[in-house]
Amino acid sequence: MDDTELRDAVVAELRRIAPEVDADDLDDRRPLRRQVDLDSLDWLRFLLGLHDRLGVEIPEADYPQLSTLGEVVGYLRARL
């Protein structure tokens, strides 16, 4: 899976939680939760969904490193 495919997978998972999101409007460098209206439960479900979809363990202690879309993709890339 290249970075574009990985980003697409992450956005697809995000859109399962927040289907109002337009993938083209997302800025990979800005915190996701500043761009998309996600409450705490949405965020948790998003991260759990990534785990289920991609099989990558995301321990709670790592959540703070996962703020922007770019960070999420980079984090997953390193562990796939």
Partner: protein, 587 residues
Amino acid sequence: MRPSIIHQSAAGHRVPPNFADYEAERARFTWAAARAELAETPGGGLNIAHNAVTRHARGPGRDRVAFRFLAGADARTVTYGELDADTNRFANVLAGLGVGRGDAVFVLAGRIPELYLAVLGSLKNGSPVSPLFAAFGPEPIATRLNLGSGRVLVTTASLYRTKVAKIRDRVPTLRHVLVVPDDPDDPEPTPPGTVDLTALLAAASDDFATVPTAPDDLALLHFTSGTTGTPKGAMHVHEAAVTHWATGRYALDLHPDDVFWCTADPGWVTGTSYGIIAPLLHGVTSVVDAADFDAGRWYRILAEQRVTVWYTAPTAIRMLMKAGPDLARAWPRPDLRLIASVGEPLNPEAVWWGRDVLGLSIHDNWWQTETGGIMIANTPAFDIKPGSMGRPLPGVEATIVRRTDDGVEPLGDGVEGELALRAGWPSMFRGYLNNPERYARCFAGDWYLTGDLAERDADGYYWFVGRADDVIKSAGHLIGPFEVESVLMEHPAVAEAAVIGKPDAMVGEIVKAFVSLKRDVVADETLRLDILAHARRRLGAAVAPKELGFLDSLPRTRSGKIMRRLLKARELGLPEGDTSTMEGGAS
């Protein structure tokens, strides 16, 4: 099997508890005496902000820190003296705009310092104030602004652009929108139709004579939800401060040197009564964090800010439990001495988890938007019964009743009924906006009927059983099914909609929607996501459904009412109960 009681007493505490003898303190206590401990406003009357801010700023507490505002890695402290000056500036901004006593001010913002200035400055100006939850979508915002005849809205430039601009022409009472520029890269920090609050504050005088509001002048508007109809605007008066003061002493055990952290957002009543007012009345230092929940960050705040009293919520506690004990133990908390929780019943496992992992039992307490302050609580000098909301505080008389044709009938210990409170405590709501009938229906004789089903045990502890209506409680917040259903019905494919609370291990209940579709519309995944997207755009993530299912038709009573309870029973795989009144009979 864990014991059913955690024994505690008045002895052995590093700081002796304020509330140490249950019967004697309740016998001694009067609301009049508590009221006498607050100060009159110069010119007469009672004003929340005068007692919360000015009284300290003019005394020995002047240089004490009132707030530590945390945002990202930054921290900004504000002393009582500075808070007095800044809230005076805000009051002068309002006065300069011709906004006076009785004109409602709404605030829609995250936990930024301006929110706190706006709430307290409005109170000084005699303007009722209503903080709205920033996660609301445009629809809940418009509904609430209109219900409260909002004249001023304080918000941020980004929230204005994404949520308010599109509904502004639907709120005819709204004259002034004051924005805080919140994005340094924003080419247009003050959107058209708004005024830069920062500039107005900088130009305003820091001298202001607090309006001598009467004790029963309207001070705070908090919106809550019922099963039917629009949200209810609960009206609270300046005298509510007497309850905030007394409960800060008894339930939160506040002492002058405390560092207090209430994690609730001021968009909900807890975040205003206890995130703003009660700690200021006691002259303590409050921590305010602008960030969303993050387990590691929260533990760091508790440790680094040396929090002594922490008031939080079951959803947050369960998220901390999920994050595991290692994170909890990585941040020693020698200063923390009391943890309290509110929002929904705290499960016994969580109370015990506090004791085992955090080293402190968690004290659950109970109250609601209408009560304005804590009514029933587990407190540090008395035994905790995990899973119980505790016992009534001084000044609060509670009972369990059954509604009858001509009033209510009190029930004995161990019998499930509706929790009722003897009317007349100072923070009792004084009405629902524009809805005197609905207000009147909340009372039977001297009793306020809470709508919560509960039981009292032989030791006088109260146990929450459930709601008497279909209101959904998610992450401690009430969500009215009607508000959600109305928005779902706007979707062109939807014929009917019903919304229930589906039990969830983390947030208590999540909003689950059922819809039936118009003729010839095909139910598929694309449509499901499209309806969910519509609901999220209009309602915001905090209110919109998390799940949505299609049904051919929704079960209705013969009189046409949708049977949400039946949908819920089906969802949970429970017996469906008596369906004899159902359209088409039981099937």
